[in-house]
């Protein structure tokens, strides 16, 4: 898969400018097409992803203050709609819901078993405000769930029906490191429409470009004006400036090799002493895809259902093998998560599993910082004279 460029522009399609009314028209146009529009909105002290009935529900004027184990929404002095970075949820909450019924089975009086596959007729989503890191995260989950020998058809049905409106980042958070992971702040491939928010003396507007024929068709139907040089330059400079204001960085080494070479590092003991193995990072991570299965019956015992639900490699049962867990220590479970995310994901699915969104840092109750751990492993490897 292609790595998203950091600041280059997609020159393949004509761009245009939408104002706030244009954005509202976009939401209405998508709803008129029968789509469920999901986007960010300020609710319960956070920027959450929820169904939007109009663009007025976007978090105009709200920003976020992020740190390890810390998240606050803050009032901004301007009316920017997309000046927040990753929130507690990601698009996987919609594309790979927490619980999904896979099939049902019934046992007849003669003991015959009839199994019925679950029908896949999901909502036709439009996601408004997909950050470039999250756009990449969707592509990564596509590779896991659709790119192998076996396809997850339920995911495939939700995914192919989804219309993606990326919004480039001009306001990175203190926990962001998409530049290190090559996923932002400019939007990489995969969007139907990409927007860049511009807010200056010339007004509040969105530079828009289409990435697919459907995106072009939707854009063409909106009140708009041709892109002008001032808006283009402002958008370009804002994204470029964002690339220079990342709150975090990864060590600039081959992370896959670093993780493969540090399985016995002392640092794992250090982080294990802090890690609560609560699994918050795996729930918040936009690429973590692990699930488990649950088999249930009704009271008659003759109707059974198979459900899948999110699981976490921090759970002791995750690696259970006749008699006990393979990974019983917290050290081994944190190591599993980090080595998978940054290292063995490459072996399994051909890319890194980290997009640099920073959610795992923000939502860790004890503020464990994936970038700090990677730097520490790198330092330990250097001190031992190893590679990397």
């Amino acid at each position: 898969m292609a790595t998203a460029p950091t600041t280059t522009r997609d020159l393949g399609s004509a761009d245009c400018v939408l104002d706030r009314e244009g954005l509202d028209a976009l939401v209405q146009a998508l709803r008129a097409r029968g789509r469920t529009v999901v986007g960010p909105t300020a609710r319960d002290g956070a920027i959450v992803l929820a169904e939007l009935e109009s663009a007025a529900e976007l978090p105009y004027g709200w920003g976020v203050e992020l740190e390890g184990g810390h998240y606050r929404v803050v009032r901004r002095e301007d009316e920017a709609a997309f000046a927040h970075s990753a929130g507690p949820q990601s698009w996987k909450n919609f594309l790979l819901p927490e619980r999904v019924r896979q099939w049902t089975a019934d046992r007849g009086p003669d003991g015959e078993m009839t199994v019925r596959a679950e029908r896949h007729d999901p909502a036709s989503y439009a996601f408004l405000g997909v950050r470039p890191c999250d756009l990449r995260a969707i592509a990564i989950q596509d590779q896991v769930l659709l790119g192998g020998r076996h396809r997850d058809d339920a995911y495939g049905a939700r995914r192919t029906g989804a219309f993606l409106i990326a919004v480039e980042c001009v306001e990175p958070g203190a926990t962001c490191f998409c530049v290190s992971m090559g996923t932002g702040p400019a939007a990489g491939p995969g969007y139907d429409i990409a927007l860049t928010e511009v807010l200056d003396d010339a007004g509040h507007r969105f530079l828009a470009r289409a990435g697919t024929p459907e995106g072009a068709e939707v854009l063409a139907g909106l009140p708009q004006r041709p892109a002008d040089a001032v808006t283009r330059t402002a958008a370009h400079e804002a994204v470029e400036a964002a690339a220079g204001r990342m709150g975090r960085t990864m060590p600039s080494v081959d992370l896959r090799a670093l993780l493969a070479d540090t399985l016995d590092a002392e640092r794992w003991n250090d982080v294990a002493a802090r890690c609560l193995t609560c699994g918050n990072c795996t729930m918040a991570c936009p690429t973590c895809f692990c699930t488990t299965t649950e088999d249930v019956t009704d009271l008659t015992g003759d109707h059974a259902e198979r459900w899948s639900r999110w699981d976490s490699c921090y759970d002791l049962d995750f690696s259970h093998l006749h008699g006990g867990p393979v990974r019983s220590s917290g050290r081994s479970r944190y190591r599993q998560w980090l080595t998978h995310k940054l290292g063995t994901w490459h072996d399994q699915f051909g890319s890194s599993g980290c997009v640099g969104c920073g959610r795992c840092i923000v939502w860790c109750p004890v503020a464990i910082d994936i970038t700090e751990e990677a730097h520490a492993l790198h330092q330990e490897a250097l001190s031992k004279g190893g590679p990397s």
Binding site: G111, V115, T293, D295, T297, A304, L321, V326, R327, Q348
Partner: protein, 268 residues
């Protein structure tokens, strides 16, 4: 075939040991694609759950044999099934014992406990094509004589060598006592031209592979069958990871050249 189970009927059950049974399954309607020795099915006990079980027999009519030790909730439910009962089956999944890789080689089949079950169809395939390879050696380890599987078949597997070692002999046991690797001295094979197929508890796999490498068998010619927790078998659930491997996809059969460094890391 891989997402939703197909109903299969239990047509025969044969007790192997006090806690282990071999069940013969036939498709009720549709048949799964054909299995290769070493591959596994996800076997569903109605309302209880689903476990990975390697095929112990691949029958020409589409039927399958599974040898099941009733130790957990699902395996216990499968163990208790009687002829006429229906189970759900998904598969085939995973890598197989690569018998063509061993063309011309001596074959060394080393089993520990119920690890003999996934090796049984390999032994039968090798017996059916004796000209394709050198000498067939079958080395079987078990806790006690009472824990031996396929007792009435074992004697027919000596082409030329079949050895059995038990940890705890019982009265009248005349065979070897000790771990399965003690049989290696008796088995006629040329290490540099041998392919080994090893399945059993992980500690037995490591000890056997170490001994084989020591005797000069190439690491990539020591094929081992590994096990981790499996939920989906379609490489989507993440449970069966062993470092870079997803064992439902990249295993269960793995060359020891890849397995050795992974098994050397505690709690990987």
């Amino acid at each position: 075939m891989t997402a939703v189970p197909l109903p299969y009927r239990v047509v025969d059950t044969r007790p192997e040991t006090a806690d282990t049974v071999t069940i013969r399954l036939e498709p009720v309607h549709e048949t799964l694609p054909s299995f290769a020795p070493g591959q596994f099915a996800m076997v569903y006990a109605f309302g209880v759950g689903e476990i990975p079980v390697s095929v112990a027999g691949i029958l020409p009519d589409g039927g399958l044999l599974h040898t099941i030790r009733g130790v957990g909730a699902v395996s216990g439910a499968l163990y208790a099934l009687r002829p006429g009962a229906t189970v759900g089956m998904r598969g085939p999944f995973g890598t197989s014992w690569d018998l063509p890789l061993a063309a011309g080689d001596d074959l060394l089949v080393v089993a520990g406990g119920i690890g003999l079950a996934p090796l049984r169809p390999l032994v039968l395939a090798a017996l059916a094509a004796p000209q394709a390879h050198g000498r067939l050696n079958v080395l079987v380890g078990a806790r006690s004589p009472e824990d031996l599987l396929y007792r009435d078949e074992l004697d027919g597997w000596a082409r030329p060598y079949r050895g059995v070692a038990v940890d705890r002999p019982s009265a009248g046991w005349k065979g070897r006592v000790g771990v399965v690797t003690t049989l290696l001295d008796e088995a006629p094979f040329t290490p540099a031209e041998t392919t080994a197929f090893v399945c059993g508890p992980e500690v037995m796999i490591r000890a056997t592979a170490r001994e084989l490498l020591h005797r000069g068998v190439r690491p990539d010619r020591v094929l081992v069958s590994l096990e981790r927790n499996m939920r989906c078998a379609t490489a989507h659930c993440g449970h069966c990871q062993l470092g870079p491997l997803l064992l439902c996809r990249d295993g269960p059969v793995v060359g020891y050249d890849r397995a050795e460094p992974l098994l050397a890391v505690r709690e990987l």
